[in-house]
């Protein structure tokens, strides 16, 4: 069979950094190729070069046996290549239909044929089983549905090669499972698929073939039959990775964080947390398990002073924190690794060094009276960058230059490098590569071993079960059960998460 895509000896560098070096890749019709690699390994660069978003330095790209010019997205789309971007390429204020047909609008005379476009969206959505309302503005849709729009957009033309760039990074586990089904269905219909991810489970579940990149080079090709998750992880990172978290039994002390009858409203004004009660002791990790959107975000924001409480109390080592702002909450001893690191964790345009002191820039030793002590800031940065293994040429580079995993390391480094009593970590490893996940997990455990109370909120049940000492299940804004993590029944917790009684 003629391959739908053939990449020959493709190279691309950005200044000094070689992002892709001599990469060759083929995809057959109906084949699912998993493209695996850590953040910064060059996966995105490779597919962006294929799609014409980036111009490679050298090499050849053949679609359907014919060479395509570099950097020409329109031609590539024309030849039947579609791409679902990691950051959705959707215009928020425009409708689903407008987004799907942007760049290839059906016309009637001089005007856009809105009716025809809408019918076509409905037809596509039926054919591929991707349900959407064609008239809704994209910004009003949940993330999972936005992604459906992205996929439909990629499929609108007779697509024979579909590239998915980290499609599951923003999805809940349920949405991810649905996505994987869609991918399998597309492959059955003869579409060749490149699936970029660093989630090993997904690759193992759907890929026919796995191509692994590391530091811009191809390190190997394998199939899910020939290897397992730890084998893949080893290829990605270049060393043995411990996927299971090793930890000693917890030695819980006094209660450090106590939450009593906490009620919180969400952005729409509805009661999202409906009377939560729990405590986290010194030297233990309490994991909050739950399907996303069950009040976790509101709970965390209320504890950390980012959201007003309707009623109830939050105590830190017995001291009440009543509607304090984040700064005061922080002073009370609560460190926070926020769910949305781009929005609440970092100032993207500030240097890494400044980001590392965001919570203490006005305190000794980083400032004396009104003057900042930049030498102290920079010493602190050098030390933390080394200790937390932040991969960057210099701590003076802007935080925006870092990959997702390294951004998260900066936040963890900042939050852990101070005397803390309570650590609230919300989705600490979302969208983070395997190597960084391992590192962040170790840091959370060592914070616990140093006597901090850790509240871990994660959408990944496996993460909660492997890290936490106790697991609280949240459903519909209520803590419905608290169990020991050791020997917990996964199915039982899953049922509670789904809102079923016992």
């Amino acid at each position: 069979m003629k391959p739908i895509l053939e990449v020959r000896n493709l190279s691309k560098s950005f200044g000094q950094v070689i992002a892709n070096e001599n990469i060759s890749l083929t995809v057959q019709p109906g084949e699912i190729v998993g493209l695996l690699g850590e953040n910064g390994a060059g996966k995105s660069t490779l597919v962006k070069a294929v799609f014409g978003i980036l111009k490679p330095d050298s090499g050849q790209i053949l679609v359907d046996g014919e060479e395509v010019p570099f950097g020409d997205t329109a031609t590539v789309i024309d030849r039947g290549v579609g791409m679902v971007h990691q950051h959705f390429q959707l215009v928020p204020v425009m409708s689903v239909t407008e987004n799907i047909f942007l760049g290839d609008e059906p016309r009637r005379g001089l005007l856009i044929d809105r009716k025809g476009a809408k019918e076509e969206v409905l037809r596509l959505s039926k054919q591929f089983g991707l349900e959407v309302d064609p008239d809704v503005p994209v910004e009003d849709l949940p993330v999972g549905t936005q992604q459906r729009v992205e996929i439909l957009k990629a499929l609108r033309k007779n697509v024979r090669l579909l590239i998915l760039d980290e499609p599951s990074a923003v999805l809940t586990p349920q949405e991810t499972d649905e996505l994987l089904e869609v991918i399998k269905e597309l492959a059955k219909q003869g579409v060749g698929i490149i699936l970029i991810t660093h989630k090993l489970r997904e690759v193992m579940a759907v890929a026919d073939r796995v191509v692994v990149l590391r530091n811009g080079k191809m390190v190997g090709t394998t199939t899910p039959h020939e290897t397992d998750e730890s084998g893949l992880a080893q290829m990605m990172v270049g060393r043995t990775v411990i996927l299971d978290v090793k930890k000693s039994p917890a030695k819980p002390g006094k209660p450090a964080l106590t939450v009593k009858d906490l009620k919180v409203r969400d952005d729409r004004g509805l009661l999202a947390v409906q009377g939560a009660n729990f405590e986290v002791r010194e030297g233990e990790i309490l994991g909050i398990a739950g399907v996303e959107g069950n009040g976790q975000r509101e709970l965390v924001e209320a504890i950390c002073g980012m959201r007003d409480r309707v009623s109830g109390e939050v105590l830190v080592t017995g001291q009440a924190t009543k509607n304090l702002n984040p700064h005061a909450v922080h002073a009370a001893g609560i460190a926070h690794v926020p769910e949305d690191r781009e929005k609440h964790g970092l100032v993207a345009s500030y240097s890494i060094a400044d980001n590392l002191v965001l919570n203490r820039f006005d305190q000794s030793p980083f400032a004396s009276s009104f003057v900042r002590r930049l030498d102290a800031v920079s010493d602190n940065a050098v030390e933390l960058v080394k200790k937390f293994d932040v991969r960057t040429p210099s701590a003076e580079n802007p935080a925006s230059s870092l990959s997702g995993g390294n951004k998260q390391k900066v936040i963890v480094a900042r939050e852990l490098s101070q005397g803390l009593k309570v650590l609230v970590a919300a989705q600490p490893t979302r969208g983070v590569d395997v190597g960084s996940i391992e590192f962040i997990h170790k840091q959370l455990i060592s914070a616990r071993d140093n006597g901090a109370a850790v509240l871990l909120v994660s959408a990944e049940l496996d993460e909660v079960l492997s890290l936490a000492d106790r697991v609280a299940v949240i459903s519909g804004g209520k803590i419905v059960a608290t169990v020991d993590a050791e020997g917990a029944d996964r199915n039982y917790i899953g049922r509670l998460m789904a809102g079923l009684k016992e």
């Binding site: 789309i77 215009v91 928020p92 425009m94 407008e98 942007l102 760049g103 856009i112």
Partner: protein
């Protein structure tokens, strides 16, 4: 939404009819001058709409109007040919928008600074080269549209104007159709909202920005020509008198929609026309400077009311760079 606009249309018709039956002559003349005062503002607002919808903030409208009116007037006067004057004004507007395009699209300069450069440049050039003693051979003639101009009220108000008035009105409506019902408009708006999505869809972002800025320059040139060659027939230093900035306010008030901005401009024109009428008839005795202030006071009031409720194109003001990582 639909019933609301229908309701306000009825209200406007009702008010106009009331005054028309009280005094048809005065009402007709007020409505006519409302259009004359409002139209240049509306056309200038189109410059802003075209630019911002496609992601470029243009505060250089004032300078564009000034420069194109200047070229239109002097070249028209020297060549003694009004058509040459109109063409020169168009060229002048396009020169200014090309300058904005080079500064903001190619050099990715801060767009507020780029607009300021245009304003300062236009003010400097037009006063440095300004010479007294030139006059146009005539101003652009009125064309009374046959039959339509004989209609009561509507005829004299809408169909007894110079060619550029008709051109302006038709182009504003065309722009609305293009922006909301044609490929070009959907693509342009996607660039103003989220340019990387347009890029991913195979749209050449910077090329379309250039095209739209040139079109905007054409609108600016037409406005300058209208002011110098059809409405006033002369040129002075500081001739544009803040119309370019008022136009920006109207663009916001009209929610970046050509018809909205046209409506807002006619509202402004009506206020000005009523004030003038009151002055002429001596009903009120307000010193002229206060009457002249009216548009600016209205601008502030309107912006204060609508600010915060409107949402500009999300990417306006930011140059588009293809990502590099």
């Amino acid at each position: 939404m639909f019933s609301k606009s229908l309701l306000s249309t009825y209200a406007v018709i009702l008010v106009i009819s009331y005054f028309y039956f009280r005094d048809s002559l005065v009402t007709t003349s007020v409505a006519g001058s409302a259009l004359l005062f409002g139209l240049p503002l509306a056309m200038a607002a189109m410059v802003g709409i075209l630019c911002e919808r496609t992601g470029v903030v243009n505060i250089g409208i004032e300078g564009t109007l000034l420069f194109s009116a200047f070229l239109g007037f002097f070249i028209g006067a020297i060549s003694k040919n009004l058509l040459v004057g109109v063409a020169s004004a168009l060229v002048g507007g396009i020169i200014m928008s090309l300058l904005l395009a080079v500064l903001t699209v190619n050099w990715k300069m801060d767009q507020i600074i780029a607009g300021t450069i245009i304003n300062i440049l236009a003010a400097g050039l037009t006063s440095f080269f300004y010479k007294q003693g030139y006059a146009l051979p005539a101003i652009l003639p009125r064309w009374n549209i046959p039959l339509l101009s004989d209609l009561p009220f509507i005829g004299p108000v809408l169909f007894t104007h110079g060619p550029l008035t008709y051109a302006g009105l038709i182009l504003i409506i065309t722009l609305w159709v293009g922006l909301f019902h044609m490929r070009w408009g959907l693509r342009s708006r996607s660039i103003g909202e989220y340019p990387s999505s347009a890029d991913a869809a195979g749209i050449r972002v910077n090329r379309l920005k250039y095209l739209n800025l040139i079109l905007a320059g054409g609108f600016g040139g037409l406005t300058g020509a209208y002011l110098a060659l059809e409405l006033v027939g002369s040129f002075d230093r500081g001739f544009s008198a803040g119309k370019g900035f008022t136009a920006l306010a109207l663009m916001i008030f009209g929610r970046w929609n050509p018809l909205g901005a046209l409506g807002a401009a006619i509202f402004f024109g009506t206020a000005q026309a009523i004030a003038n009428q009151l002055m002429i008839t001596g009903v009120v005795n307000i010193p002229q400077p206060f009457i002249n202030m009216l548009p600016y006071i209205l601008t502030i009031a309107v912006l204060a009311i609508s600010a915060g409720k409107v949402r500009p194109p999300a990417a306006a003001g930011r140059p588009y760079e293809k990502e590099n990582s």
